[in-house]
Symmetry: C2
Subunit: 679 residues, 2 copies
Amino acid sequence: MSYLLYIALGLSLLAIIYAFFLYRRVMKCPAGEDSVRQIAGFIKQGANAFIKKEYLIIIIYTVVAFFVIWISPLGLYSAIAFVLGAVFSASAGLIGMKSATDSNMRTTTAAQQKGMQKALSVAFKGGAVMGMSVVGFGLLGVIIVFIISNQFMGFEAYHAVEIAAGYSLGASSIALFARVGGGIYTKAADVGADLVGKIEAEIPEDDPRNPAVIADNVGDNVGDVAGMGSDLLESYVSSIIGASTIGALAFAANGVIFVIIVAGFGILSSILGTLFVRGKEGSNPHRALKMGTYVSALLFVIIGFVLNYYFVKQGVFTVGEHLNYLYGPAISIIIGILVGILIAFISEYYTAAEYKHVKDIAKQSETGHATNIIAGISTGMQSTAIPVIILAVGTVLAFHFGGLYGIGLAAVGMLGTAGMTVSVDAYGPIADNAGGIAQMAKLDKRVREITDELDSVGNTTAAIAKGFAIGSAALTALALFNAFMQAADITGIDITKPNVIAGLMIGGMLAYLFSSLTIKSVGRAANKMIDEVRRQFRDIPGILEGTGLPDYAQCVNISTGAALKEMIFPALLAIVTPLIVGFVFGAEALGGMLAGTLISGIMLAIFMANSGGAWDNAKKYIESGKHGGRGSLAHKAGITGDTVGDPLKDTAGPAIDILIKLMTTISLVCATLFGAGIF
Amino acid sequence: MSYLLYIALGLSLLAIIYAFFLYRRVMKCPAGEDSVRQIAGFIKQGANAFIKKEYLIIIIYTVVAFFVIWISPLGLYSAIAFVLGAVFSASAGLIGMKSATDSNMRTTTAAQQKGMQKALSVAFKGGAVMGMSVVGFGLLGVIIVFIISNQFMGFEAYHAVEIAAGYSLGASSIALFARVGGGIYTKAADVGADLVGKIEAEIPEDDPRNPAVIADNVGDNVGDVAGMGSDLLESYVSSIIGASTIGALAFAANGVIFVIIVAGFGILSSILGTLFVRGKEGSNPHRALKMGTYVSALLFVIIGFVLNYYFVKQGVFTVGEHLNYLYGPAISIIIGILVGILIAFISEYYTAAEYKHVKDIAKQSETGHATNIIAGISTGMQSTAIPVIILAVGTVLAFHFGGLYGIGLAAVGMLGTAGMTVSVDAYGPIADNAGGIAQMAKLDKRVREITDELDSVGNTTAAIAKGFAIGSAALTALALFNAFMQAADITGIDITKPNVIAGLMIGGMLAYLFSSLTIKSVGRAANKMIDEVRRQFRDIPGILEGTGLPDYAQCVNISTGAALKEMIFPALLAIVTPLIVGFVFGAEALGGMLAGTLISGIMLAIFMANSGGAWDNAKKYIESGKHGGRGSLAHKAGITGDTVGDPLKDTAGPAIDILIKLMTTISLVCATLFGAGIF
């Protein structure tokens, strides 16, 4: 059935071609007035400068890792796959960012010249370039590695997937650098711009008099676009590799082919879904985006069953040791989709201003900063409950219907329409940037109103994408975890053994340590930014009156330098720890550690994502005129909450998802090298 | 060797007699001026009113639980043991509180009439009444249950310990009620008094014009004394039961007797240690308290070896299946002591103003509330790293030397000198109260200075006691966890099974849900308090000028009502969840859940305790004149951090320690009732 691989290959190439086509469409839209183009140029320049420096570090890391993997028992093929993963991940991020920095001003101009419908269309197309690149490159790499090693070089399926895990490892490590680096960049600039600009100098958001304003907008592109793109590519690829490893053990090559062809048709569903995103003048843009998402999901469900039917007919799937039900695989895929949607809905419930928790945080802001923070923390903690129960039930059900393969497929199901979810997610920062440009270029107020409406939808969709990222991280990690066990040749990980308990505790702690490192990095970088902005307000004459020009480049440089310096240690911690624990304490203790990081990391990630989201929207709710509105004590407290939430939800939280999978993938790739440990 | 049980019985009675003797000594000290006695009377009244209502609820719960346990397969003996545990736990808390509310004014008067040395002596004696009651009653109950069931009724050792686990369960559930109820009470009053009194009305701490000031001081007694006493009794008893269960399986009755006699001589070490606490005029009170602690620990180590030697001579301990080293038990005890001291030291490092983290938080307060909060959160997260590594290493080492028994004994070692640590811990709120009384009675400023110095030492010792509580919770839970496995007759808990993974996730989440419930309760109660204090400032004429008298009783009523109402649901959650999971999903999934709560709970407890401690001391550091001192922006941000930290460190954090053990104890007690589950 290897011809299916070539169909999937074609579908992944189709995504890349479609991305290119969308990009051309975006570029045909008018770039706009001189002032718009000038400001967009600043942003583009800053983003390119950062990416250039960041990618230089990534290249050095990749080259070193290439040689290390080559001379290790993993060998040359894994090393080459690793490099391919790194290159594809970096490419998807780069293309996404290029598209975003070209689409932002065109969205502004579309809003100015044609109104909401056209602006939504441009911003969404710009985001879809990234969405399609992520899934196109992600799947393409897996297929290339698998076809070459399995079909051409004749490795058996399991070994071929092991090599493909090297590809996944490449993608994961780049994702961690990009997420942490981009996350530190964007939040340092954001916090710096807010604390000095908004609170001290009392000038509005995105005001061109604020020296950090360009850095802030650059941050959206390098963090929320490039970083997020690498992140989602990583999630997507890991889920495919996780399911494929188990598939290879259960059904040999056909178990892998099923996963790949499902992912391929998932891409097709996403492409068709994008066609349904059409903003109507006067209608809610949220509806258009949701419509596209639901259409993709529905198509994907149908295709899943059709493919399952075909694999049953061909005699691949039979009831037996690996499968309790003939349609277990398709049912597992549906379970994954449902779990994703439910978690996303719960995220929305805890973070959207329509529901009681955000309203409660806003009310608690009336009594000041402390009660705002306490309310946000407890809301975030509480918000872990239902998603975790859903995940637990989903895991048990997927296992019931599809065995271990089912758990892997649930993750693939959740991310199968990633092409669509990433498009929607990348649309947010483009709309945000478009608003910033409108403000800085002093366009008509009406333009900003349109982009604000587009942006507010983006906030909700970002929370939904985070729900998918966390949910799929858990399921993928479970699949990879089982793959690791099989590879390490351990039959069980018994938590009643002291070394496993020690591993669990240390793993659980790593999620906290990692979070604290990234949050502290943001704090340090933000401090530098605060000092610089204060210095410019003090030293540059006429800056607040609008007669003196701020030195934007200096702020961009500070964010760039700080982010690059700070991203290295947390990333290395994630990469080196599993190796040390594996070699010193053995595979079973390492298994405990991975489980510990998974358990404690999921809770922490959900907590931080939802606390942050809720604080953000509570502030916006107050700004809409509630509890005294702008300038009131409640508003000041709301800004405090939002600022606290920023590094939690946009730096530490998303990075933990990658941390969990990166550590598991490293363990899987190196599983055969670990013995019982030195101790 | 059962005569050793009677020696231990004698030692536990000695502790109770010594407590009574100390109480008589305290009562002989002069109570002081009329104004002092009047204010202390208000506090005492409020505390008694709360305890009366709280204990009524506890009695109802105990009676219901008695009948449920009786008709369950556990039977009458466990039910009686349960009631004994509940009664002893409540008694220790009550005696401690009575002593504290009698000692506080005598400490004030001693400071006024005789100076630092005498004040330290009175406050410490007052605290030692509680310390000795906790260990005296705690051990006495275990011995009574064990002697009756093993020696008189002839049950074999393991079964006798099972019945004693019912005693532990009684103590644990009362502890949870007392900790949660007391914690909500004290923090609601504290936050309410601070936010309206200090920030809005700008009157100093403990000012008699603040209507919530009595409630705040009552809170110290019902939360930090009575709640803490029940909590520590629970920790102490659980550690003994955990080690005894494993001891019974390995060495029959003698394995239990060793644990009990070790605990008995631990009491003697503590009593001797208290004699070394002597404040010298002009010397640091911290030194005197540390001296006592070190003397107890040293004596305890020596006694541990002597007893180990005796058990080797008697042929009880032999190298074999259960023991790798003849002196494994004594070595494990030392490991426990060292782990406790190291964790306490790390807590101090992260929370004391002498070290860089608190200084850093203070510095970050200069840029406002948000950066203060971010710095505190990341410091707390980072502070999990070293304690967890110490715990992991300690667990592996204790297992290496003493097997599973060693892990249990390490917990006993850590809490062996609890008589001393609780005395030191209970001294803190007494000194705090003494200062409050001095302030409210408008005594000479010099008096307040003395009590402030005594109090500041209390803050550090409280952090140390929390370190011991968390560390021993982890080790005890591990011992109980293994006991549970043996009782449930499962040979291992394999985290690669989906139902175990589901259990792990749900367990991990419970720690977050439980924290959020308790934090939200504090928030709600504090809000009521804020409204009431504002109302009084508005409605009572002359209140701020000192001519109108505030309605203290109304604030006391609010705290009382809110705490009692709010404590019930979290407590029931902790009690009911293990039963549901055990019956529905089976023992192995329940094991996963317990491990999940342990892993995620330890991290969360350390994070919350140390963030809270660091914020508290950062505020005090700023108040000492740094970064602008009182009234500066940094100070306002510091108060915000302190207020946020309050419910984390004094309500949610300590309650998690109990949650972990209570859930494990319930599972152990009911282990034989769970099968493979319905699913």
